[in-house]
Amino acid sequence: MQSFRYGEVEFGEYVIDGYRVLFRKVDGDRILYRRFSGEKVVLERIVFGYEKIMFIPVYPVLTPKHVTSYLLLEFKTPVHIAPGSITYVYVEIPIDIAIYVYRDKVFTVLDVIPLMEPKYTLYGDPFNGLIARYYSTSIYYEITPIRGRALAKLTLRNRTNEWVVVTKLLADMNSLKIFYKPRTIEAYTQELLMIIDSPSTASVGYGDPFISDIVPIDDPPELRQPRIMLKTDMLWGI
């Protein structure tokens, strides 16, 4: 029994949080995949014609059902920012572990394993707002890889003439990109830039990766990136 690492999978058994997964070669090109919760098989698949199988960190909006592409991070520690100033912090982004099967660069998602009990929230009002995956994050001041989470660098720029308190961040998973370091448990996103326009509104932009030697994931079909990167407006509180 091994602990998982991002990247290519060897045959055998792995422990992923509360689950155990098994890859067994049946014969020739065929393999059997099983996910266990305790002794109970919760998912079983037979794969034929694969080239490689990989553990990939994916966006936390696919389980238990894809109902939104947004993530709302609530900061455990609110950040006060002086008028006209700029600062940065690191925040956690929850991730799930997906099992990708490749053949000639074409892939399918065999399974998505949730690493925590997901929760959702309403951002805004029921008529104009949006549903988002909810996560309460700690604030970090330096790069701190966390098992089962991706780390995002968040630059906060206060364009107003008054002090503002930032307690949350809204991110669109269609614009966010996840990266990982092969053969480690380190996952990252690109740098996020939150421009605060008023004490209650802001816009979130999506920049470049802030660390080297990382590989971008192939986005699942539900969350392909738009050709033009759009900003995410936070209109119902920051």
Partner: protein, 281 residues
Amino acid sequence: MQLHFIFNETTLGFEWLYHIDWIRVLIALAVFFTGIFISLLIRRIIYRVSIKIMPKDISSTLSKVIYYVLVIIVVISTFGVLGVDLTGFIIAGGVLGIILGFALQSVTSNFVSGLFLFWERPLKIGDLVEIDGQIGRVVDISIMSTKIVGLDGVLIRIPNEKVFQAIINNPSKTIARRIDFVVGISYRSDAEKAYNVIRDIVLKHPFVLVYPEPEIFVEELGDSSVNIRVRVWVPTSEWYNVRKELLWKIKKALDQAGIEIPYPQHDLWFRNPLEIRLKKS
């Protein structure tokens, strides 16, 4: 200009041609063909513009109706240029209009209601709605009627006039919806324990939203039970499933915790002492 010079006395039987004002005929023809051309052009423009914002059948019908109205105006204008007295036509048209108006009253009403429904957009295909007491998912909105498939899988056609006048309950228009129910526990049971059991189930469910925060509180000390009110918000798309799951999980968890959900109880008081006679068989 009258074309007297073309004809001579030998052209017997064609004298009426002398009286035709050919200039006026040419003008009338020009008005007619130009009018028809412009009407066709307007029809095409209206169709192309409306197809971007309306369903195909509504765009097609709308452009046709406007086209036929324009054609009628062109024909009347052409007769006007020719100097034809249209009083008789107008009277006949008026009578015909009244007859058609009565005959096609419901058709016209449905058509106009369809247009208004389209502009107002109280529902769209795929919405789960309640119209006039009928609950179902909208599968088609045409110019004359709206079709929904009921929860039992039966297709229901509702004329647009009725849809327009009905109170439409459309939860699909909002992204989040509240689930509201009461759990009654017996006076013998531990109310605090029951509260914690319900709270745990509610907070653990992924689709019970963190904000707006769930509300769980004792609403009433009822005749037979302590009534605990549960109010939670969920994504509208998950409302039905979450409601089913929550009620089932709460019932199971309360049973496991030994908390009783009581039957309604009544204390009966008898004015006179009650005698019970037992018969020996």
